[in-house]
């Protein structure tokens, strides 16, 4: 027991001189197996780019749900089970933020590519990444058995949770408190086939929920999906339900398990314009109020959030120890005591962390307030639609709606006879 107690420091002095061997003893050398060769990282990026290209081709050119489904299985197997879910585009958000705020961390090319490629593709083709390439999406896509319709207002409200999660993940990565998205990746335990009870439960929860609420992580949690939503809005081409023209047959109305099909809008009476304009002015004012409120709330909770930072936790434990409330030092306190760091340096570091959390909390709060305000404005603006259209932000490019469109059947039949004629 005495040995264990006195062994607080494992950095012992070298007590014994090197032996002088008289026999021809050869001292073994310490082996250092290298990490995975860098070329494999490039292979991953290549597979990602190829999968994104294939997804765009399948959804726009082939209009094939079967193709998309097959590609999503491949992505699940490759990025999920083979690469064990790391690195992924969703998590790379954390790396990008970290590299912006921590000068000692240079963003690896792989992380940069995984972050940028899906966004670039979304700028052109919409969210083809979500539909067929993301392993987190793919695993949920296979449990969509009884999707229930979620009212649009509820969907938008719940999505505010994802914006909050995005703000928190960026804040934590920026202040160096860890990568939340990776830490709470609900499917990582499946991908690694390792046993971590809380994560297994989280994964099962999302999959169980996903039976009724299609792809709950993608719609209400995924922070990277929010970026792709915005890119999808701007995208050059959009997934179209019909291959040529919409005949307003209403057959696709309930086709989308994600509620991303928007029906044609009713004509808007001209007489309501002044009232609408007044409401818009009011909501613009409210936007500013919400931003202010968000900033204030962010400042109010920053101390609580900072408790998640390891330095703050260490300082808390050291303070307990100083006050005599901790009789047996924890490993954390023990590590601090043997590290030779002074108390003053710890207090200074703690203060610096609080400072960063204060500013970060204000910024994150303003951001979430801004998002909430813009959402209100968005909901009160009337967009004109004459056809059934896929929502540019919400469409996950899975291709499920194609089979519901009678024009698709005609198009497919025409394609077959067309190729037959060529032969």
């Amino acid at each position: 027991m005495g040995l264990i107690l006195s062994a607080a420091a494992v950095q012992a002095a070298q007590r014994f001189p090197p032996p002088q061997f008289e026999t021809d003893y050869q001292m073994p050398t310490l082996t250092t197996p290298p990490p995975r060769a860098a070329v494999w990282e490039l292979v991953d990026v290549g597979v990602l780019a190829a999968a994104l290209g294939l997804a765009a081709w399948l959804i726009f050119r082939k209009r094939s749900r079967h193709g998309i489904a097959a590609l999503s299985i491949f992505s699940l197997l490759y990025f999920g089970f083979w690469r064990k879910g790391c690195i992924c585009s969703v998590g790379s958000l954390g790396n990008v933020v970290l590299s912006l705020f921590d000068s000692s961390y240079v963003l690896p090319l792989t992380a940069a590519a995984f972050f940028l490629l899906p966004i670039l593709f979304a700028l052109f083709f919409g969210r083809v990444f979500c539909g067929a390439v993301c392993p987190l999406g793919a695993i949920q896509d296979w449990v969509v058995f009884r999707p229930l319709a979620v009212p649009a207002w509820l969907e938008t409200t719940f999505r505010l949770g994802a914006w909050l999660y995005l703000a928190a993940a960026v804040l934590f990565a920026a202040v160096g408190a860890g990568l939340l998205i990776c830490r709470y990746d609900p499917f990582i335990a499946f991908f690694r086939l390792g046993f971590n009870t809380p994560l297994w439960l989280l994964g099962l929860l999302f999959l169980g929920l996903g039976v009724f609420i299609a792809r709950p992580y993608c719609r209400f949690v995924c922070p990277y999906g929010l970026l792709l939503r915005q890119a999808g809005r701007l995208s050059f081409w959009h997934v179209r339900i019909t291959p040529d023209e919409c005949i307003q047959c209403r057959l696709c109305e309930d086709a989308c398990p994600f509620g991303a099909i928007q029906p044609p809008t009713a004509p808007w009476p001209e007489s309501m314009r002044p009232a609408e304009r007044r409401r818009l002015v009011f909501l613009s004012g409210l936007l500013l109020v919400l931003m202010g409120l968000g900033g204030w709330l962010g400042y109010r909770v920053h101390a609580g959030l900072a408790a998640g930072h390891p330095t703050v936790e260490l300082a808390r434990q050291v303070r307990l120890r100083q006050a005599g409330l901790m009789t047996e030092p924890t490993d954390t306190v023990r590590a601090f005591e043997v590290s030779g760091r002074t108390l003053q340096s710890l207090w200074n570091q703690e203060a610096a962390v609080f400072q960063r959390f204060a500013w970060g909390g204000i910024a994150a709060g303003i951001f979430v307030g801004f998002v909430a305000g813009v959402k209100l404005i968005q909901m009160s603006i009337h967009f004109k639609r004459t056809d059934y259209e896929a929502d540019r932000a919400g469409c996950l490019a899975c291709g499920r709606c194609f089979a519901f469109c009678p024009r698709q059947r005609i198009w497919e039949a025409g394609k077959q006879t067309g190729s037959g004629e060529k032969q």
Partner: protein
């Protein structure tokens, strides 16, 4: 904004725009490479042995069910002691290789007689669970030649190391993949 369907489905149009996209993606990748100040490198996780206190969490918190952390032995630091405090449990009844005398819970350390009075100690990695008991024992009364390292033939290189999150001494750090070990040396 939306091209008419006939145009959307024309192969030439698709190819042309596809090529355009590819070139834009290449440009984007170039921008990303430049943005990372053209010294982009891959990172891997490693234990700084001079910060490690041998708390034992490496054995239990790795996402792998058999931890990627193993004990390694810097032979040039080793005193080749007969009474190795990294090998024997405190106050061993006899200096013998019986399990009851050993500190290692899995018997992963091999003790071999070299010449009077020296014994060589090697780690059988297939048995080591990375608990660090021997690391603490060796450092307490020996030269501290046993220490823990993340073995990169096992490590999955998670974006956030699960052990690093719970490491009490924040000893798990990112190191460049080109020099992926932080080894102890005599007279650092």
């Amino acid at each position: 904004m939306n091209p008419p369907p006939s145009e959307l489905l024309s192969r030439r149009r698709f190819l042309k725009d596809g090529l355009w996209t590819v070139s834009l993606a290449a440009a984007g990748a170039a921008v990303a490479a430049l943005a990372s100040r053209s010294r982009a490198k891959e990172w891997v996780w490693q234990i700084d042995p001079y910060k490690c206190i041998g708390c034992g969490r490496c054995a239990t918190h790795c996402v792998l069910s058999e931890s990627a952390v193993k004990c390694v032995h810097a032979f040039e630091m080793c005193g080749y002691c007969d009474l190795c405090t990294g090998y024997f449990s405190p106050d061993p009844k006899a200096l013998q290789t019986g399990a009851e005398h050993q500190l290692c819970p899995t018997g992963a350390i091999r003790r071999r007689f070299i010449e009077e009075p020296y014994f060589e100690f090697t780690i059988d990695e297939s048995r080591c669970i990375g608990c660090g008991k021997c690391v603490v024992g060796c450092a307490a009364f020996g030269n501290g030649s046993l220490f823990l390292q993340i073995r990169h033939d096992r490590c999955l290189n998670c974006n956030e190391c699960a052990i690093g999150r719970v490491c009490p001494s924040e000893a798990i750090v990112r190191v460049p993949a080109s020099s992926p070990y932080l080894l102890k040396v005599r007279n650092p």
